[in-house]
Amino acid sequence: MLENIREAFDGIRSHKLRSALTMLGIIIGIASIIAISSTIMGTNEQIKQNLVGSGSNVVTVRLYQGDYPFESAWSTLPEYIPPLDSDTLDEIRNVKEVASAAFYAQRDAYGQIRSGSKSLSAGTIYGVDRTFLSVYGFTIRAGRGFTDSDTDQFRKVALIDETVSATLFSGANPVGETIDICGEPYVVIGEFTRASDFRPTVTTLEEYFTYNTSSGGKVLIPFSTWPVLFRYDEPRSLVIRAVDTDSMTAAGRKAEEILNGTIQKENPEVRYKSEDLLEQAKNLQELSSATNRQLILVAGISLVVGGIGVMNIMLVSVTERTPEIGLKKALGARRRRISAQFLIEAGVLTCLGGILGVLVGIGLAYGISKMSGVPIFISWYIIAATVVFSFVIGMVFGAIPAYRAARLDPIEALRHE
């Protein structure tokens, strides 16, 4: 065995260029598989982080009519949906996957938020309690947040985000200014921003809309003042922060169940649904994996082509070494030994090609990552699997040359000079 491996290396060393060219097919095949799979896995990791937000773990549960969010601005709220009370909220907070939770109401506002002559063309108004900011992952940048007395005394105060601040006040300090929301004056008490641990990166059009509508123009007011602007029985949504990323789905499902438990109808048309970003991330990941699996198939075909190249060269090698084979047979080498020599040589050749291919593939993956900004993830499992696979290819395509070598007639072989 050791002798066979040594012979294989001798054979490869005595024909360096030829061996290198033979290996090239394998190198390209393996390198593409490594590069593609590293990029897929990196992309998947990124999708998860982008959508889910590292450390944010926020799940929202909203009313849905069929597959679309229920729009309270245009539709009448069905009678079977009662207003949410604090008992329900407490119940949700007691779920073990839930770290914190808050109810909120929300309406889109087009041009209804103004200050003097300036107005915000598109924004969202949220009716919240004072815990909302921390659950959602917002922090106060200037001024103060809501207090219990703001809520209890129905104070018409508002928090605005940087988009609103920039639009209405052009960068000047907004704290203390009065803004007009749907015709009612509200005093700005603070400006908020996303907490620094939530930095989504936009890579698809869908994500662009998700983040640009939700991060563009938010105005927060105490929910107690909501009836001043809108209906008093406004349906509310739930935002929860899960204890960790992996329990987001469970937290969302359980909260959804509790909320749907308050609905007074079997199989209601309008019901609560959790908007689980982790789930969405998984769907996106599956999509990207599916397309990339096809790429790996193509790379696999190039490996087969490489294998045929190996077979070709091994056949040449058998012909070249006919006298050597004849001598070995005369000296008592068995067929098995002769075939093992060529099988192992083919295996070593492709295995070397595989190892070089892994190195080239990792280099390629880094290159792709540098150029496109997509992170890469290199898996030892895949590296080991591809090297073993390349060895197997050598074995498979070395089989015919090895068989021919073993069957050579020693007399013919010795006469061949």
Partner: protein, 225 residues
């Protein structure tokens, strides 16, 4: 009786166009004898050699080696016989260029599954016998033709075979190197080695204790007519 050939015939070619090479060859040889077989090219001497060395099988007739008929032996069994009982010396040495002298010598030991440590010792003994102990770690390219043939002889004898088959062992050498090779054969013969040597040089053949002649596939006693 070391070997006995009874009515050996060998025919090449197809059934429609048979090419007879050996005709009714009868020959026997005792342990320790030294035969030279002479004959022009195409006379069938190489074919005879291949049959004697279990590289080929006769079309008809029986070949007894140590009184055993191995005609039904499998490929693996024939390899074992070649490995253990027969030593080959070829005109063109057939050394592996990427192996040191001693590794070339140890090759048949490897095929005979001799433990690794023992191989080097036995290769050294065999190389000492042919006077190349100091060239053990040389590669064939660093050796002269005569030295290469001596390494090949060492390779043939290191398994302590029953029969040494030499096919034109001096054919590729100058006369001085050829002399050395013949001296080695003489020495081996004195120590009891059975040798069959094929040659077309009378001077070489005369060194053997007995001479045979083959012409058109017919083997006969004595030198060329």
């Amino acid at each position: 009786m070391l070997i006995r050939l009874e009515h050996i015939e060998k025919t090449y070619g197809t059934a429609d166009h048979p090419v007879p090479v050996l005709h009714d060859v009868n020959f026997s040889m005792e342990d320790g004898e030294y035969y030279a077989i002479m004959g022009p090219s195409g006379s069938g001497k190489s074919t005879l050699m291949n049959i004697l060395g279990y590289l080929d099988t006769p079309t008809r007739g029986t070949y007894y080696f140590e009184d055993v008929d191995n005609s039904r032996a499998s490929d693996t069994q024939m390899a074992k016989i070649r490995n253990e009982k027969i030593g080959f010396v070829f005109q063109s040495f057939h050394l592996l260029q990427r192996r040191k002298a001693w590794e070339n010598v140890a090759l048949p030991l490897m095929y005979g599954n001799v433990p690794k440590r023992e191989r080097r010792e036995r290769a050294e003994e065999a190389l000492t016998e042919v006077g190349l102990k100091d060239r053990m770690d040389f590669y064939p390219t660093q050796l002269s033709g005569g030295q290469c043939q001596r390494v090949a002889i060492a390779r043939a004898i290191c398994t302590q075979p029953k029969l040494l088959l030499a096919d034109e062992p001096t054919g590729a050498l100058d006369s001085k190197s050829g002399q050395q090779i013949m001296d080695i054969f003489d020495r081996l013969h004195e120590r009891g080695m059975s040798i069959i040597m094929i040659t077309h040089e009378l001077a070489v053949a005369e060194r053997a204790s007995d001479m045979m002649h083959i012409y058109d596939g017919v083997l006969s006693k004595g030198g060329p007519r």
